[in-house]
Amino acid sequence: MDMILQPWPWYVSGPLIALIMLTLIYFGKTFGMSSNLRTLCSIAGAGRYADFFKFDWKSQRWNLTVVLGAIIGGFITVTFLSDGSLMDLNPETVTDLQDLGFADAGRTILPPELYSWEAILTFKNLLILVIAGLLVGFGTRYAGGCTSGHAITGLSHLQLPSLIAVVGFFIGGLVMTHFLFPLIFK
């Protein structure tokens, strides 16, 4: 039981993620989380503004069900399957984050400096979350997939487009982390 309650190592988690993808393929579907954003836009009536959202969203109900499950899974894990162990981050990461103004890195899943209610009451932090969301939502649809669709599924299918997208993910992520974080957070 201790092994379940403690954080899972990569060699357990990675294969389980592959298993999730393969299970969805076996069910005749595919593993892609960002498609749900398009589906939700369609449900909200975005089809009136762009043809991109005119499709039979009911055919995607299975994927929305996966999302619902994922939310429940998140709840189950923090409620029943965690022993509150700290994250085993690289000490260098912790120091780097301190320099950027993030204290206690790894004590919670997400930094309270960005995601606590107090944090979002400041205009700057609210703007950071809004811009981050816009970039993710816009970029993932432009690229035709996110981490699950391209990095896991696409690469597993040896798709060159997915490799290009993943290289793009890393260019963007590296620029943000190395060049923009010092400007944003210092």
Binding site: M33, A50, I109, S156
Partner: protein
């Protein structure tokens, strides 16, 4: 009832991503700083097993649960959309510390401020849908 299996897949997905800490903003930062193998190990082992099993599926013509052939669809050939879209996504991924899967999962862990990111991501997707025809693909 036929949706139960997808609900279960989602629940397992949520549990695995929280237990692996892949939903953590800190882990994403650490990954982009190349200061830990953890995230790379997760991605590489998932992809390696994925490649292996998809080869096996194809080789032995494994049928889907409903008896149909499994259809492996190739992604559209293109360059700019994957590179530009990928870079934009990457910027957001590092800043939010979450990609679309973890966004939903984190909501379940009780981080309700994540709704701001989710609603913004919906706006971003909407914006793409409106501007789609004017972008290089």
């Amino acid at each position: 009832m036929r949706f139960i299996k997808f609900l279960l897949v989602g629940i397992v997905f949520g549990i695995v991503l929280v237990k692996s800490e892949a939903v953590s903003w800190y882990r994403i930062f650490e990954m982009f700083k190349f200061q830990s193998f953890h995230m790379y190990g997760i991605i590489f082992s998932a992809v390696l097993l994925g490649i292996l099993f998809i080869r096996i599926f194809k080789r032995y013509r494994v049928k889907a649960a409903n008896g149909h052939e499994i259809h492996f669809q190739d992604k559209d050939r293109s360059f700019y959309r994957y590179l530009f879209g990928g870079i934009i996504f990457g910027l957001g991924w590092a800043l939010a510390g979450a990609c679309p899967g973890p966004m939903y999962i984190l909501l379940g862990t009780g981080v309700f401020t994540m709704l701001i990111v989710i609603v913004s991501a919906l706006m971003g997707t909407f914006l793409y849908g409106v501007l789609k025809d004017r972008l290089p693909h």
